[in-house]
């Protein structure tokens, strides 16, 4: 905590800006191996939309994966936590109970870049619209 000129090392690592999101909408990952399961559920956690999770007992759960917890090496020690679409209670599901995963929900942020907004703005302006603002899109 000092008043100083910043060291070069601090400056050199600071140009990594933004991330490129994969288009995962509609993706159904293979869950044949442990590493595939971990990779798919990590992507599920990062996904900006709902997923459909099929459990080994045949139950299907649609919802948003808001957390994953890795508490040990076994799949039964790892959990995803889900906010179901049509239920009030959050769920905790062991990786070992998951038979299938599908990225069925819309990626709610895809295509909403600043460039896309400017394009939309220009289209509205060209159409003669006035008082153009930034309006939130309606929820699904």
């Amino acid at each position: 905590m000092s008043e100083s000129n910043l060291p070069a090392s601090a400056e050199s690592s600071e140009q990594r800006l933004g991330v490129v999101h994969e288009n995962l909408e509609g993706w159904i990952p293979a869950l044949a191996t442990v590493s595939e399961i971990h990779e798919a559920l990590e992507k599920a956690f990062d996904y900006r939309g709902d997923l459909t999770i099929t459990l080994k007992d045949g139950q299907k759960i649609e919802g948003y994966v808001y957390d994953r917890q890795i508490k040990g090496p076994a799949l039964s020690d790892c959990f995803i936590r889900v906010m179901p679409k049509d239920q009030p209670d959050k769920l905790s599901i062991p990786y070992s109970d998951i038979a299938g995963l599908a990225f069925t929900g819309r990626d709610t942020a895809a295509g909403k870049s600043f460039a896309a907004w400017v394009k939309k703005y220009n289209e509205k302006k060209a159409a003669g619209e006035t008082n153009i603002g930034i309006d939130a899109e309606s929820l699904d």
Partner: protein, 172 residues
């Protein structure tokens, strides 16, 4: 109140985040040569950090976030899971993995108040040097800087200061 943006990886727009270098340049422009009536609702030492005059380590637990999912790990910008209780958040979060100095790329460009103003306030109340620096920053808060706008010693700016510009169609 002012604060830099965060390179939030779930944000729709990933192309307009500022690096720390650019953030410091921007806040140097904003916070230098202050009008006497300007009042900023920020701690003086945090503002000095934003201007590039000092450096702090992140205190990610400084402003914890609770929402419908629980207590967000580790801070309200970086969403790396949730804890059900505040005690669990503090106990089970691996805090060494976060902050600029950790090497975590998700923290690389963060200068946000949620982690750094807490550090500045801790410095202010936790050390004589921090307290004296705060007194100095409060009494001498104009930060005269003829170079702040990037124009060299003559004070004339050389770059475009406009951050967002909607493209204007040429008149027919």
């Amino acid at each position: 109140m002012l604060s830099p943006g965060y390179t939030y990886d779930k944000a729709p727009d990933q192309e307009h985040f500022l690096s720390k270098k650019k953030t410091r340049e921007l806040f140097r422009q904003i916070l230098s040569n202050r009008h006497e009536k300007w009042r900023f609702n920020l701690s003086p030492l945090f503002m000095e950090m934003l201007m590039g005059k000092r450096e702090y380590k992140c205190t990610p637990w400084g402003m914890p976030t609770y929402n419908i999912f629980g207590w967000q790990k580790p801070c309200y910008l970086l969403q790396d899971g949730y804890a059900d209780t505040f005690q669990e958040l503090l106990r089970e979060t691996d805090w060494d993995r976060y902050g600029t100095e950790s090497g975590n790329p998700k923290c690389a460009n963060c200068m946000v108040h949620s982690g750094y103003e807490a550090s500045a306030v801790d410095d202010m109340f936790g050390s004589i040097g921090g307290f004296l620096s705060t007194v100095r920053a409060t009494l001498f808060n104009k930060y005269k800087d003829p170079d702040a706008m990037g124009g060299g010693s003559n004070g004339k700016r050389t770059d475009s200061g406009q951050l967002v510009q909607i493209a204007v169609s040429p008149k027919a």
